[in-house]
């Protein structure tokens, strides 16, 4: 039951984009077309799941036993950067079609604050291993949901009449605000 709660709340209630404001850059930058938004969401979910496992291992097997928790920030960011590189090389070797689908989005993820945020939040909430994995997958799916919804709305927005200064980022943020308002309706779903 606890695990279901973590999973659902990561997708709907504490959505990474709409509640924690993490991963705003790809959320605004790669949400013009549904297909590219889907690839980005897929790439983020994939890297988030792996990051959750690796950062948990580093935190619990290296940093905490040796009392090196002041190295948390440095080690997490380095691990994420090298992990993305590794994953990229691995996918290119194993599955060229997947590599083609993810394309440019994979390297871009290194600078995505959502990945770093995931590692930090999991360690802050003191999740155990299974909880961390569920949290990682759920957060990735939540990000995918938000970015695909956003892309769907923005494809329609192209046809709408928008005041000149609000075009681009301005209207995108206002739409995100309305989405956040809609998502805040889920608060209280899990008690």
């Amino acid at each position: 039951m606890e695990l279901v709660a973590i999973f659902v709340s990561a997708i709907l209630i504490n959505n990474f984009v709409l509640y924690y404001f993490l991963g705003i850059c790809p959320f605004l930058g790669v949400s013009k077309k549904i297909e590219s938004a889907f690839s980005m969401g897929l790439a983020v979910t994939f890297v988030m799941s792996i990051t959750a496992v690796v950062s948990w291992a580093i935190n619990n097997w290296i940093l905490i036993p040796y009392e090196l928790d002041y190295l948390e920030i440095v080690s997490f960011i380095l691990v994420i950067a090298s992990l993305v590189q590794l994953v990229e090389m691995f996918i290119r070797k194993i599955s060229p079609p997947l590599y083609q689908a993810l394309g440019i989005y994979l390297p871009l993820i290194t600078t995505n604050c959502a990945i770093m945020g995931l590692a930090l939040l999991a360690s802050l909430n003191e999740y155990n291993f299974v909880e961390t994995v569920i949290f990682g997958v759920g957060s990735g799916l939540g990000f995918t949901l938000a970015i695909i919804l956003m892309a769907g709305i923005r494809e329609q927005l192209d046809l709408a009449e928008i005041p000149e200064p609000l075009k681009g980022a301005g209207i995108a943020l206002i739409v995100a605000g309305i989405m956040a308002l809609a998502f805040s309706g889920f608060i209280g779903m899990i008690t």
Binding site: L78, P163, E164, I171
Partner: protein, 203 residues
Amino acid sequence: MSSRSLGGEFIKGLWEENPVFRQLLGMCPTLAVTGAVINGLAMGLATSFVLIFSSLVVSFIKKLIPSQVRIASYIVIIASFVTIADRFLQAFFPPISKSLGPYVPLIVVNCIILGRQEAFSSKNSVGRSIVDALGMSSGFILSLLLLSSIREILGSGTILGYQVMGTWFEPWIIMILPAGAFITLGILLGIALYIEQRAKQRK
């Protein structure tokens, strides 16, 4: 090499190249911590500390860093200063550190900081880099203060915890919720762009 005067390097961060309103960098902390002015201010100062000292170190050792590993080196330098800022807040301002939560460690992935190292400090002298970092920091702090003042006044009727609105005022709860952050920033971006377009037409 930049051809501006030192004053020009500073001023450009305030409006012309303002990190939040013009370059759309560092959006995550901008949205996340601006529910109250005190949090916005603390975040602005912590980010400025990291930006200024990272610029100082990067511009100082720019000739020693091989260009293939420069991004990784910048990240390690930035992460060290973020750790200092995080530990400092935890030790001396525990309530602020608690309410900022994971957003202080997240300064390490703030694109403003890495962006300035790559675009400016790695190519310019130490003095110029510090002035540039000061200008960008001021621009960032001012943007955070603007956004957090609007949200705190409308959302709680207070500023820095002091009551400024009369008892007739019904707080707009939406302004403290995440939705208020997105909508306020969206409207402010629109206003900034409008002012810019008007200024261009006059020229």
